[in-house]
Assembly symmetry: C2
């Protein structure tokens, strides 16, 4: 077994165990057993469980930020509304493609510990710069107050997270396969529709509307 294979196997096992049992509910032994590797190999590659989690989180967030940056660069010619729409699609796609780890990360981020704070400072600051930046610009043309924009942003971020924080409701109400393309398309559209609602209801009378 190559080193790359081992690392991948360990991460796959950890992803699935963290998702169902949580970080604290999972031991290195559990991971080794599920990955069918020796515990010592986990120590060799990741030092310990914390090291493994850090590695996986960095991997997840690096790709996520890269995606957001690439959207922003590709689409320089577009309006902030189009850019935002594109970002929504890309984010939902990324989260859905990494379904289990996304669920786990969103759960983990509600905790208050050193690793979470580090991730916040590093990656969520970048996300804020990229995503909130575009979001704000797309609403500022409406002349909204900052507090109002912040409220909408909370709702917006909530919508991006929701499907990954309510597994039971998802299973019950959207009863097809979670990884299905149909879900991503439908769900992204439902957020885009919500944005349209904000643009429309905050439109000043006589203010010419830019097309979303």
């Amino acid at each position: 077994m190559t080193s790359l294979n081992t690392k991948q196997k360990v991460m796959d096992a950890a992803r699935s165990l963290f998702y169902t049992k949580g970080y604290n509910g999972t031991s290195v032994r559990d991971i080794a057993a599920k990955a069918k590797v020796n515990v010592s190999l986990i120590s060799y590659h990741f030092k310990n469980k914390q090291g493994l989690l850090e590695y996986m989180m960095i991997h997840y967030f690096e790709s996520y930020i890269e995606l957001l940056e690439s959207v922003q660069q590709e689409e320089k010619e577009h309006s902030s509304r189009e850019l935002l729409r594109r970002m929504i699609e890309v984010i939902i796609h990324y989260k859905q493609t990494n379904y289990q780890f996304t669920c786990f990360i969103h759960r983990e981020l509600t905790l208050d510990n050193v690793l979470v704070r580090e991730m916040m400072v590093t990656y969520l600051a970048k996300e804020k710069y990229l995503l909130f930046g575009v979001f704000k610009r797309s609403l500022q043309t409406l002349g909204l107050k900052n507090l109002q924009i912040n409220y909408y942003y909370i709702q917006f971020k909530g919508m991006l997270m929701t499907p990954f924080l309510m597994p039971y409701e998802m299973r019950e109400h959207v009863s097809f396969d979670q990884s299905h393309d149909y879900f991503m398309k439908q769900y992204s559209n439902s957020i885009i529709n919500w944005l349209e609602y904000i643009y429309n209801t905050n439109q000043k009378p006589g203010f010419k509307q830019s097309i979303m």
Copy 2:
């Protein structure tokens, strides 16, 4: 110290520790130390950590369901839209009043274990009956398809949970005291406005609109 006092102290300590460190990250010893009671008293009242959690969860959900039921009974004379609006206010108020435990419960419900499944079967089935029932009726008059209603419900449930699942974003973007009445009012209104938008955009031309 009376028995009631001890129970309350233990629950208060557990609530705060579960919130910051998670269930698995908190030991009975931690709880005893924070509550300034002897570990044996926790065993006496709740058997163990699992028993304590069950007791707290049942307590939380019983009151929650009771609230929803009382809204439904008080307001029999009202339309489903008015009923739904009232439920939104009551739910946000309850969640905000029990802020730490609400955050903890929403996090815990993303896990897959026996206790969570039991809570689901018992309380979330009741919530579904009460809340989804009203939600569905309020949208059915518009002639929407079931799948469409389910998608809206996912967004709706997400909006009810969001403030309690993103503590960092809340702190950053809504920078006043979490327990403030102003937040509850503003946030409830933002959900009600979103519903009004759905009612309006799905309104068939010529269909007489009932006032929300």
